[in-house]
Symmetry: D3
Subunit: 235 residues, 6 copies
Amino acid sequence: MRPSGRQNDEMRPVSIETQVTMHAEGSCLIKCGNTHVLCTATIDERVPPFLKNSGLGWVTAEYGMLPRATNTRMRREAKNGQSGRTQEIQRLIGRSLRAGVDRVALGERQIIVDCDVIQADGGTRCASITGGWVALKLAVQKLMKTGDVISDPLIDPVAAISCGIYAGQEVLDLDYPEDSEAGVDGNFVMTGGKLIEVQMSAEGSTFSRTQMNGLLDLAEKGVAELAEAQLAAVA
Amino acid sequence: MRPSGRQNDEMRPVSIETQVTMHAEGSCLIKCGNTHVLCTATIDERVPPFLKNSGLGWVTAEYGMLPRATNTRMRREAKNGQSGRTQEIQRLIGRSLRAGVDRVALGERQIIVDCDVIQADGGTRCASITGGWVALKLAVQKLMKTGDVISDPLIDPVAAISCGIYAGQEVLDLDYPEDSEAGVDGNFVMTGGKLIEVQMSAEGSTFSRTQMNGLLDLAEKGVAELAEAQLAAVA
Amino acid sequence: MRPSGRQNDEMRPVSIETQVTMHAEGSCLIKCGNTHVLCTATIDERVPPFLKNSGLGWVTAEYGMLPRATNTRMRREAKNGQSGRTQEIQRLIGRSLRAGVDRVALGERQIIVDCDVIQADGGTRCASITGGWVALKLAVQKLMKTGDVISDPLIDPVAAISCGIYAGQEVLDLDYPEDSEAGVDGNFVMTGGKLIEVQMSAEGSTFSRTQMNGLLDLAEKGVAELAEAQLAAVA
Amino acid sequence: MRPSGRQNDEMRPVSIETQVTMHAEGSCLIKCGNTHVLCTATIDERVPPFLKNSGLGWVTAEYGMLPRATNTRMRREAKNGQSGRTQEIQRLIGRSLRAGVDRVALGERQIIVDCDVIQADGGTRCASITGGWVALKLAVQKLMKTGDVISDPLIDPVAAISCGIYAGQEVLDLDYPEDSEAGVDGNFVMTGGKLIEVQMSAEGSTFSRTQMNGLLDLAEKGVAELAEAQLAAVA
Amino acid sequence: MRPSGRQNDEMRPVSIETQVTMHAEGSCLIKCGNTHVLCTATIDERVPPFLKNSGLGWVTAEYGMLPRATNTRMRREAKNGQSGRTQEIQRLIGRSLRAGVDRVALGERQIIVDCDVIQADGGTRCASITGGWVALKLAVQKLMKTGDVISDPLIDPVAAISCGIYAGQEVLDLDYPEDSEAGVDGNFVMTGGKLIEVQMSAEGSTFSRTQMNGLLDLAEKGVAELAEAQLAAVA
Amino acid sequence: MRPSGRQNDEMRPVSIETQVTMHAEGSCLIKCGNTHVLCTATIDERVPPFLKNSGLGWVTAEYGMLPRATNTRMRREAKNGQSGRTQEIQRLIGRSLRAGVDRVALGERQIIVDCDVIQADGGTRCASITGGWVALKLAVQKLMKTGDVISDPLIDPVAAISCGIYAGQEVLDLDYPEDSEAGVDGNFVMTGGKLIEVQMSAEGSTFSRTQMNGLLDLAEKGVAELAEAQLAAVA
């Protein structure tokens, strides 16, 4: 039995509220159960130096957690610098979102996606990717409305979900009590039925290819549900 | 005429939603017009070294802004370190809240108040103090409910408001369009009808004691209204 | 009775020795009792990026303390970075001095005022502002002598003094023994009889508007005396 | 055709020279083609604070590259701090090695594995894991010889290999010319025929589960060959 | 001819004013021509960790320059961290002073010598050593007066002087115009007629042993004169 | 008797293996007994800003130690920043190498010499200078082969050796057991029979000019032998 009473292949309820801040070109507040992430997209007409005069666009991401997003207060990164974990996560978010972007169609500009965790209960990096895509899409819609972008550089939604082996069972969408106990867990980023990124990891344990396939089956189901929620949000 | 159409002595609408995060001992989301600040209070049974075995409690504060809380995206402080402005503000918040605390009654423990600006439209430090007191009060109520604190260390609310001279007029509660134009502005922190902190500043200008008194009159009116909202929120 | 035996409205003796270093365009050593601050002004023909081609000048300040300027040795900031307190003070000094400058008359150049505390006994930020203005004035006189500046951008002296409530009495120009005990203290920056900056603060206490007015009366007296000393020094 | 002329399932020649430095408790120089990594293992009788008095051991890793290990000289991290990439890699190495350790058998002590890239030609993180295990094993052998450890905490070798899709082909053990062109690549860490970590990533592309399985087949072949080389080295 | 008109073996005038700050246990302002350094000595009853319970004392030094001590303003190290040059100099000062201390006689305590350059005209590290010894001696005298130290741990003065080859001539005590032109220069630290440290360096040039001996002869003469000034100052 | 059984004027065996990495323009692995340093030279067609359009070349150096190059593991500088010792050493290496370069003949380009200590047993800065010159020479030979440099900017080898007073004896080429006991030691950099840099230092001791001359005699002998090894390596 899962601590939340969910079925093994049951995701937490997802809600995506859009345009939640007055300044950002695109924004949403995504809630995956008790994990809440505020995602904003900022359009910047300057690209990084290595893309100057290339005609190609860029998407990058930054990630943060409010100090008391977690059960025990964490030290504020503004005082201590970004941890290795934070940097690893924001690199993943940026890479994942870029995989779903036609950078020629975007044109030579940059979109910066900020994902800030307001409340954490496991799966913050996946919620950041899923919500980040919504904020990105809304910003792109703005560019298309003004005619700055002609052909939509974002076709299929990019979404991510975690799966893991908890108490010997393959389960979908780990919450924090599961995540802290799971010997094996993975994050799966997908778009249009294909994979973008797979990160599976065992802490003090190992896993078989059969188990890996079981988790992938669950992930495919979860991502399909997330994509529906994303499309509804940006409609 | 003020850009918002408000009267000179008219505050922006204030709302304070409490217990907005599942983890913090006390929390609120304070909205002063379009300025939104999430305030959380964390109880820590350890005090700073200089208070060990003193029997006295401590209240401290940290302040941050999400990168796209502002009209133009700001660089993330986790990557660049806290600016002088940020440090100055969080020192002010901590000092202000401590002025309203009976540190003997609190007992030898620390409460850390985090104020994170979700959306900024002027007056973020004042909203942080006002909301921060609400989060602090809720955390203290929890300590009193469990019997860890017997006598309430917080009597009167601590609240803060900005006033300034905009287009030659003394006005209450500056929003960003006013704040960026005002030659003189001030932040006033009060409790129980008395002053805790006054910070008045002229940029490329000066002011008279008569003008100063005019702003203090406005501030007294504003803080009285804020105190009502605070008491309603923690009732 | 004050520890120093001074009257409540009596400042410490002030001396301002000018042109104390061979390299700086303007310099002075200001002594307010046992508080000694070396102030130098450096003319830099480059302005900060946001003023390029604006025709406007700029004045900025930096502040430091020698490690053993204080009774107990402080850690060297070059090894540990500037504290929040240091940054707050140097922002105040720069803001205060700019309020007394006609930036058009100064022309598109920058003057950097360095205030380094050689010996501290309370009131170092006020002494830095008062002495900083003298160094600034001397540098400007040099620019006027060479014809680089035609119309004097500095009319009235900018000076600052602290006042506070010590042992229940409103007193002028707190020294360290008073400052460390005072429940309420303030720093007042003035020029030409008008206010530039008021910073009043209560630590673990509050104050009334009547008390505030009492401190302002003292400050006006003190600043008038400082302005005389400044004018004598630059004559 | 691969740039090196290798078959799609052909690894680069691997050599592992052991005990290459006089100071470290365990060490090796691993060469995977032109990628050369010096791995040392240091025994530290102190564990990190969270393991004090737990009876459990710990294995951690650090990773670095000499500035001219690469074709173009990189800035020295000692001058600029560790990059996000470096931190991500050293977290992976530590996690991978720990998955193959019986931490009870190791006893309450820490082994620090340093992996320093002398020359880079793709696959440095995989070579670091593979060589790091050899250094770790040698250090453990020393502990067993002295009787400080009784039961061997390391059973099967932990090894890692990269695979990717280069020019439309699934290939084993990417070198730098392949790695910089591959749209999809992955790193696979295994022990005793089971998986420890899978990291697959597409840059500006996607991949199917069929392709993923193809890469896993290649990885299994590669890791089996590496494990033989490891066992020969520590025999 | 030297720019200053001095003879080749002629030092600049030296003055040492003692007890120039009210807080430090020992202090002096040393002037070697236009190079002015404020030296303070702080007694700290705690020693560095590696000396705990050793019965041995320690002397260490820190060095800094005010930003406008130099002809062109330097960036403040508190904002940018200590440069390599600064760290090198303060290590030299500490090493030099320790060479003249009987650490058993000093007892298990630390004396920290701060050398802050108020005005620079060449030779600041040498002036720091010479003045630093005076501050140190005065602090030790205080310890002896109170009976905390019985036997004097400082016998002969430690002093330092620079020499160099300027315009083909071997000259004593380089000022800045000479120092910036000299192809070869050296710093010589001596005590009681013996050498403690010799640092000779050629920039874009070389030197012979004969030249080296010529500079050493000059240095011996200079240090003897400095020692007299030191003894007079502490008498 | 020296711990190694060497004669007082006997160096450790020296070997210099060239072109040991595939990427660097020049490289060598120098072994002075058990001290092993990998030296690489990188040609950079850009010079530092202060040399733009001067027609002059530049040589600079960086120095590092692998964490377990030493008997006890040192903290990795990439995590903690370069120590004062490291900065001092790399400044010395750069200065020493530049003294042997005709910067006009080199032309307006920069060569960066990286010296990374693989294994340490005393004398790492001297080995870095000696090996660094070999890497530099090989890079320059490449520039001459392509015709980018016409006249050889490097004539005589630059080499360095340490000497010291160990157990009362003047000895050549200190290894770690000697270095950690020696009360006086020095590093001597020479080229073509002339001196470039002399650094002699006593820790808790002093030395006479006679002793200094004895060490210089030893150093001349040692450097002559090193120069032969350097010339053989680059032949």
